[in-house]
Structures are given as C-alpha cells and as structure tokens.
C-alpha cells in the first residue's frame, strides 16, 4: 500500500515487529511500580467512599441528595451523561475511524475502548442509584409477570436501558475481539505457569491463522459499521431523556447531534488526558506521538466547534422562537443564579479548544493535557447547566428553587472515579495498552523506519 512521503510517521524509532511486541509487553512484566500501587490504592479508597455514599443513598433515601420537588435530577444524572459522553471516544475511534481508514487510531483504540467500557460502567451506575426504589429496579425490564404489566416503550429512560446495555455489550465484544490476538501474543511470551494458562484461556485459542484473520477483519468492519450508528444512537437517546420533554432548555431538536458531538468531544479529551500520562508512565512515547496528538486535537476542535455552534444556535433560536419560557430559560442560564456554571461551560468548551487552531499548541503534550482537562470540566458543566438550570426555573415561578449537592452526591461522583481508575490500573497492568497486531499491520505504512526508507 502506497503512502505519501509527505505524511508524518505515526510510530517513531526503529521498530521491528518483535520490537513492537516487546515494547508493548514490557509494562506487563516485572513488579509493578510504586506509582501503580499508589494510584490503585487511591482509586480503591475513592471507590470505597463511593460505595459508602451509595449505601447511605439506598438506606436513607434520595433525600440525602440535594434534590427537591422542582429539581428531580442533579449531580447524579449530570455525572451519568458526563460518563456516557466520555464513553463515546473509544467506540468512535475504533468504529468510525476504522470506517474512515484513519491509521492513527491503531495506537490508541485499545485503551480508548477500555476507557469506554469503564466509563459506561460508571455511567450505568447512576440511573440505577438515582432510583428511589433500587431493589425494585428490575421493573424496567420487560419480563413476563403475573400482573401482565410490561414497560412503557415511550419512555426515553427505557430506551436508555436498551441503548446503554446494548452499547456496553457491543463495546465489550468489540474490545474483546480485538484483544484476542494480543492476548495470544502475551500467552506466547509467557513461560509455563498459571499465568500462561489464564491467558491461554482468555485468548480463546488464537492461532493467527489467515482464515481467522480474514474473518476477524470482516467481522471488525461490520461491527464497526454497526457500532458507528450505535455510538450515535446512545448519546442521541441520552439527549432524548431531555429533549422529549416540554421543559424549556431541554426540549430542542438540535440535542441529538449536538449531544453526540459533545460526547465525542469530552471522550477525546479524557482519552488525551489519560494517554498523555500513560504514554509517559509506561514508556510508549514512540507509539503515541505528536502525530496522534495532532489528529486527536483536530477532532477536538471539530467537535468542540460543533458544540459551540449548537450553543449559539440554541441561544438564537430561543430568542427567535418568541416563546417566553424559552427566552427566559436562556437568559436565566447566562445571567441567572447559575450564571457561573454557564460561563465555565462556555469558556471551557467553546473558547479553550479554539487554541488548537495554533499548530504549536495542538502539537504540545503539556498544552493539550491542560486543555483536555478544561474540556472535561466544561463538558461536566454543560450537563449541569442543561439539567439543573433548566429545571430550577421552569414554567411556574411558584415552584422555582435552588440546588446544591450534598456530600453524598459528591461522594458517589468520587466513587465513580475510583471505579474507573481501579479498572484502568488493572487494565494497564494485565492487558496490552496498545493493539499490538494492529500497530504491526500499519508499521510498514506509518512508522518512521519505513517511511524514511521511502518505501
């Protein structure tokens, strides 16, 4: 396959196939470092605190949260949407970029997919625990029962159940199918022992047969074809949670594509945040390079700008609509009691990513790291703004009220970080962070060694 010499190599250093194996396998060998243990401990503490907060919520009731008769959703659903959004990058990278034949995805898709799965697990927690009667949560599944009651297929929350669980399942399958060959690689590097047996089991008996590879590629492509609309559908359905209502600030038709774009935006930001640290921590600088950074930052600008345009569109159409409730909702966002949340959102989401128009910034790891955190904060506030400021002052001023979170809500949020990082630390220890086989497959077209040769 011909590659233009103008293109920037994606993999630097003199990498041979076995060097790739070696490099990526390296972090899994030897004793884990202090950093790893320290990180895992912190994550477990956070997770424990989160579990305690969840216990309090379930035991005492949702009253332990800062919600009230007017504001039925607060941090819980904000965090849900935020985590789901983050969970969009992985599948976007592996599915949509695969369809668009973007080679740079190969270095980051594995960890991004893992993050997707962990983030979706964190996200999925919130719709469960925000229920007043968690033990009866199984009512949301359409199972035959003596009362002949099914479920309400009109409800976006029910669609969510289907969407999130399908998304989690498909992402998991997609991720694992991609992992099989690499687990095979690990298996074959290990000497005999229990570890080898476990990896042998997990590798599903991978042999690297050309027939398998052919089927694997075919399957991956179609899974990607399915996952692409699936990614869209998930955040679309999440946006339906709000957009189907009549609440001003929630009910607007631009929500589906805008939410999807925002999700990819935040997901990429999170991937960047983590990958910039990970590549350093486990010496993968040659595989995650400035070329990757630049490509990802371009997507950040694109999606960030789409989000920005959506904000402005909403604002303009709210005025244009001539509907007093709509107009008030947006004036209240910008200048009401939660004005700070709105302007944090605007600054972080619309202004900061525009810095990536400058080539130096979008190729700087340090700058990207900072901006990606800004984006994560901004996207959290976007959901907060949508949920809380829309609800706290809706139609009847008599019911207007204010919201602030309690320690329980904060605790649960911290807990999800704990869960996420616990899983992430385990992942980088026990699984190859970069898709070994996929990197090898683009080595000839995208590595410094081969491109320099001018081949």
């Amino acid at each position: 396959m011909y590659v233009s010499p103008v293109r920037e190599p994606l993999i630097s250093g003199e990498k041979s196939y076995s060097k790739v194996t070696e490099d990526i396998y390296a972090p899994m060998t030897g004793k884990p470092g202090k950093l790893w243990f320290g990180g895992l401990t912190l994550a477990l503490i956070a997770l424990g605190f989160g579990l305690f907060s969840i216990f309090i919520t379930v035991w005492d009731g949702i009253g332990t949260w800062g919600l009230d008769r007017t504001i039925g959703w607060g941090w819980g659903i904000t965090n849900f949407v935020w985590w789901v959004g983050i969970g969009h990058a992985g599948t976007f990278i592996s599915a949509i970029l695969l369809l668009f034949r973007q080679k740079w995805r190969t270095s980051i898709n594995r960890s991004a997919e893992a993050m997707t799965i962990f983030a979706v697990m964190c996200a999925g927690l919130f719709p469960l625990i925000h229920m007043g009667r968690l033990p009866l949560g199984f009512f949301i599944f359409p199972y035959p029962n003596t009362r002949d009651v099914w479920v309400n297929f009109n409800s976006p929350l029910l669609w969510d159940v289907f969407a999130i669980s399908t998304y989690l399942t498909v992402s998991l399958l997609f991720w694992y199918m991609g992992l099989i060959p690499d687990i095979g690689t690990i298996r074959d590097r290990l000497k005999n022992g229990i570890q080898k047996k476990i990896y042998a089991f997990l590798s599903f008996g991978w042999t690297g047969s050309a027939r398998h590879w052919a089927r694997h590629e075919s399957m991956s492509l179609i899974l990607a074809g399915l996952a692409a609309p699936l990614v869209l559908s998930v955040h679309t359905i999440v946006s339906f949670d709000f957009a189907t209502s009549v609440i001003p600030g929630w009910h607007t038709t631009i929500f589906p594509p805008y939410f999807v774009s925002g999700a990819v935006f935040s997901g990429f930001a999170m991937v960047l945040t983590l990958m910039i640290i990970t590549r350093k921590a486990i010496n993968l600088e040659d595989y995650i390079t400035k070329a990757h950074l630049e490509s990802m930052n371009k997507i950040i600008i694109a999606t960030g700008s789409i989000v920005g345009i959506a904000y402005i569109t909403e604002l303009f159409i709210a005025w244009y609509s001539g509907v007093v409730y709509e107009q008030y909702a947006f004036v209240n966002r910008a200048f009401g009691p939660y004005w700070w949340a709105y302007w944090i959102m605007m600054t972080c989401n619309v202004i900061t990513p525009q810095l990536f128009w400058i080539k130096k910034i979008r190729r700087s790891f340090a700058a990207t790291f900072v901006i990606s955190i800004f984006v994560n904060i901004g996207m959290w506030f976007e959901r907060f703004v949508i949920i809380v400021t829309s609800l706290h002052r809706d139609f009847l001023p008599s019911s207007w009220s204010m919201y602030s979170p309690t320690w329980v809500e904060v605790g649960i949020y911290i807990g999800t970080f704990g869960l996420f990082f616990t899983l992430f630390f385990l992942f980088i220890r026990f699984f190859p962070v970069i898709a070994i086989a996929e990197v090898k497959s683009v080595l000839k077209t995208s590595s410094e060694k081969f491109i320099k040769k001018g081949k």
Binding site: D188, R189, L230
Partner: protein
C-alpha cells in the same frame, strides 16, 4: 486431529510470505494454513479464500432483531395491554424506533461475534495447536499437511520457497 503431521516454514516479512505462498501455489502444493502476527493485507485474496459469510449472518440476525423489537413493542402496546400514555396513540411508531434499532444492532453484533468464534473454532477453552509461539510476535508461518510421509519433501519445498526456517510437527 490425531495421527496428523505438519510441516511449517516461517518468514520474517509479509512480502516474503506472500511470495513464498505464490511459489508453493505454482507447484500446486496445498497450503494447510498460514499464520501471521497481524492481518496481512491481501492475503485472503492470495490464498483465494471465499468472502466470509459473516456479513450475511449479521444481516439476518439484525433483521430478526428489528422484527422482534418492533413486533414485541407493537404487541405490548396494542394487544397485551393497551395503555394510554400521555394521549399517545397505542401504536406509537416513533417511540418504537430506538428499541428496535438497539435490538437490531445487538442481535447483529451477537451473530457476528459468535459467528466468528464458532466458524473459527475459537472460544473460551479452545485448545488449538500452536506450532510456533513466535507467530504471534514476528513470524509469518506457512503450514503444509504431511500426507504419506512426504514431510521432508515438503520441507525442502518450503525452503526453496524462501522460508527462513522449516520444521516438522506431529500432532
């Protein structure tokens, strides 16, 4: 798989592998399997594999998911217990779109993944024979099945087809 024997030869570059295969093919030597560390571009064409039937399986399963998804929802809302939700019609088609879609994708994905695993005889606990552990690292391996004890002949064929190392395996 008893009483079988194979001869393997490996290459260190995918290009050499393809050339080796071509050389063997010219001699009408049947290639039992080729094993590579990554999907080698165009290898399936060289080996004249049929296009996989997985897409078709995916389509059928997806269509099934869609039918079940839509049909079930429609049945619940019009036959099982038609409830009035917010004045919406019982057969509220737009509301059925999301679940129908999700089930379509889910079923298709299951069909693809399980189709892949089953047709490739892969799965938890699958105990396939691995002839060379370096195949998952950097070796491109051609396997030829030994019949009537022609192992040595096959080994030399492989060598002449440019294999870097040749070996006999009994299974």
């Amino acid at each position: 798989m008893q009483e079988k024997a194979f001869v393997s030869g490996y290459y260190l570059d995918d290009k050499d592998l393809v050339e080796g295969i071509r050389a063997l093919q010219e001699k009408d030597i049947e290639i039992a399997d080729v094993r590579t560390p990554f999907p080698v571009h165009g290898l399936d064409k060289v080996l004249k594999y049929r296009r996989s039937r997985l897409p078709r399986a995916g389509f059928v399963a997806g269509a099934f998911g869609a039918a079940i998804g839509f049909g079930f929802q429609a049945w619940v809302f019009t036959e099982a217990w038609p409830l009035n939700f917010g004045g919406k019609p019982f057969l509220s088609v737009p509301s059925f779109i999301p679940v129908t879609f999700e089930l379509t994708v889910l079923m298709a994905a299951f069909a693809l993944v399980f189709g892949f695993l089953i047709s490739s005889k892969l799965g938890p606990g699958a105990d396939n024979v691995i002839f060379d552990e370096e195949v998952t690292n950097d070796r491109f391996q051609i396997l030829l099945e030994v019949s009537n004890g022609n192992s040595e002949q096959l080994q030399s064929e492989l060598q002449s087809a440019g294999a870097e190392g040749v070996k006999h395996h009994d299974v």
